[in-house]
Symmetry: C2
Subunit: 413 residues, 2 copies
């Protein structure tokens, strides 16, 4: 086993501690450190409060040699991280002319005048190495004390990423990269998957860890080893699991379902479009989040209102009146209609009651029809969900991608 380098992450801000925003920074930092061979053993969140920030810094440094802190570097009165750092490292906050020059430069680029307030971010701890930030006003700082390293960067995500990636990581001691193998599946739950591979799991050496990460109708499996000597074994077990789970596996490594489907479409030189009612553009958003999706994604129609189902997709008023917009007949007609209208190989359609309003006695909230149309025909499915609006939308989008992938692989409706 290699000597593991341990890191901790401390996120600072009242907005995180009252749940006003979700902390996406610490996930990015954890993944970034992990890739560079630093094992994150502790994550802490704390309020904008100097004694509490200092206490949490101590708790982090008891468990790790590297601490990455984000947040609390803005120009407003609730930003206290620089003061906490100065007290922790017993140093002074001093005027940093280079930061002021940089701030003026950034403002000039934006066509704006420097204000008195912009000066506040130019006072920096004199015990720190100051790291210039090309994307915003607050610089990053690095403190070194004994074998401990403390890094402080702004909480603005693009600035944080820029500083760590472009300016800071190469200044740190090299870690020992951890080996992961990630296997992504869709269409079955965690328990079914675990049953399917239980003999493989039982045969894993103790140095290789298997984890299950379920999310809606997807399960991600992760094999991990901190022992570099086990790379071949990791490959071997990854292959065993991939073979066993067969078509349930949509990819390995850094991929999601939309990207996997994009890969299939690109390979086959096929195209896709959507007709979304209850998902309101979310399926299209998932598809177009993938760089290069314009190669295979042509477009969508979102006929949210009843009348637009007729005017945009030629669904007959008769059919709408007879079956209702949330029905197998209408969702099938939507999928087939948009496929024809956009001239795409494959189409996805959704129509349902995402909630909380819009329910009828026959069609409670969560009654959602999805359909996919392709060269071999059309297939529709009824979902009966019982979640909140956003989860219903998200689940429906994923389920429609799962259905599409299955049809693409099966080669028949």
């Amino acid at each position: 086993m290699n000597n593991i380098k341990k890191a901790a992450i401390l996120t600072i801000g009242d907005e995180l501690m009252i749940g006003q925003i979700v902390d996406t920074n610490s996930a990015w930092i954890a993944s970034f450190l992990d890739q560079h061979g630093w094992q994150v053993t502790r994550k802490l969140g704390v309020r904008d409060d100097i004694p509490q920030i200092m206490e949490c810094m101590s708790l982090c440094l008891e468990a790790a040699d590297l601490l990455v802190m984000t947040g609390g570097l803005g120009p407003t009165s609730d930003d206290l991280t620089v003061d906490a750092l100065c007290q922790y490292f017993d140093c002074k906050k001093v005027w940093h002319e280079e930061t002021w020059d940089r701030v003026k430069e950034i403002l000039k680029r934006l066509g704006r005048e420097p204000a008195e307030m912009h000066k506040l971010q130019c006072y920096q701890p004199d015990a720190a190495e100051i790291i210039p930030n090309d994307q915003g006003s607050a610089p990053g700082t690095i403190f070194r004390k004994g074998n401990k390293i403390v890094i402080s960067v702004p909480g603005v995500p693009n600035e944080m990423k820029h500083l760590l990636k472009d300016k800071i990581i190469h200044l740190l001691p090299k870690g020992n990269p951890v080996e992961h193998r990630i296997i992504r599946t869709a269409g079955e739950g965690e328990t079914v998957i675990a049953e399917m591979i239980k003999d493989i799991e039982a045969s894993l050496p103790t140095d290789i860890k298997l984890a299950y990460l379920p999310h809606f109708s997807q399960v991600t499996l992760r094999l991990t080893s901190y022992n570099n000597a086990l790379k071949k074994e990791l490959d071997h077990f990854e292959q065993q699991i991939v073979e066993r789970l067969a078509k349930l596996v949509y990819g390995t490594g850094d991929i999601n379902l939309a990207k996997a489907i994009g890969g299939l479409l690109r390979e086959r030189k096929e195209t896709i479009g959507t007709a979304e009612s209850c998902t309101g553009g979310y399926v299209s958003h998932l598809i177009t989040s993938i760089p290069g999706s314009s190669e295979y994604y042509l477009g969508s129609v979102i006929p949210y209102a009843y009348e637009l189902k007729t005017s945009l997709l030629d669904i007959s008023t008769d059919m709408l009146n007879t079956y209702g917009a949330v029905s197998e007949e209408v969702v099938t007609a939507m999928a087939e209609g948009v496929r024809k209208k956009l001239g795409v190989t494959w189409s996805i359609a959704t129509s349902g009651i995402a909630g909380p309003g819009g329910a009828t006695p026959q069609k409670p909230v969560g009654t959602i029809w999805i359909a996919c149309a392709g060269p071999h025909g059309t297939k529709a499915r009824l979902l009966k969900l019982s979640r909140d609006r956003m989860s219903n939308i998200e689940y429906t989008a994923i389920a429609s991608l799962v259905l599409l992938r299955k049809m693409m692989l099966d080669g028949r409706a």
Copy 2:
């Protein structure tokens, strides 16, 4: 000052510590506890490792009387939370027949057979109060020791929320609700806003705290007091800030920009639709995320491919060839075209290069045109962004909503 009740949150799972997923649970729990008068003073994240889980439990309980833990309750081998709880509270894991009955019941509803693996979640700590989970197999547990309370719930978001909201919160001592006033602005940055209200900020009593939360072209201001006697003062300062910032304020309290615009549309009995190219449905997704949006949102057209701009929105090939799809002329024609086609009062259009591909020397990645059309005409704006694809998409969507709101309030193009 009231006696503040302090809480901590501990999230468990390797997937969080290597950054494979973003921890959304702790934000929800923090907000939920805050609303119920529990101040979250510490948030920790830890790996699936029994000694580390126990150590982090201690760190949480040193700072708080209530600890809410999530994760690590699944049926697979990497789920170790129940074992950690048993060791921490020095108790035994015993068969819990009621949980088994409930698991069988849930599986029956799903039309599935119980497997051997499902039994693993039916062994529970004998020192805990077991809280039945109506939405999944793992129950919640409550431990009480001296004046400390420890709650463990599954990491699956809907199960976690269900257990805390419907089953657990009323079993806890009542906290002292904190008073917040939230003021939401769009269109100016943090520094400008802070300058505009600096005299009001300087006049705040020490018991009232003001925080700034910038996100893209939005800034949320939060006034907080832990002293219930200051409710009137909070209202007073909220009103002062709202009046000072005037049209920059799009709402107060639990609202976002899409919801605020929805409110305006509903009030005026007006409607909206979008024609999205580079945002690929994301603007539509933001609008339709709001419950009741079907009252004013009629639909969208997403002409991602060049040809669909012509076939779906009647943009002439001449115009496309002369100006290119990413141009003021085309985005204006898209906004006006979709407004007419869908018969809506207001429309939003986007066309640009979200990246990382698609750039030309004249139009680098991040060159994005947005336009809004309404009863008084059309307005277009050029954005020059320099972020990653997802941030470019998100920023563009927000900027287009900001432009729309401005036009709705100005009553002219």
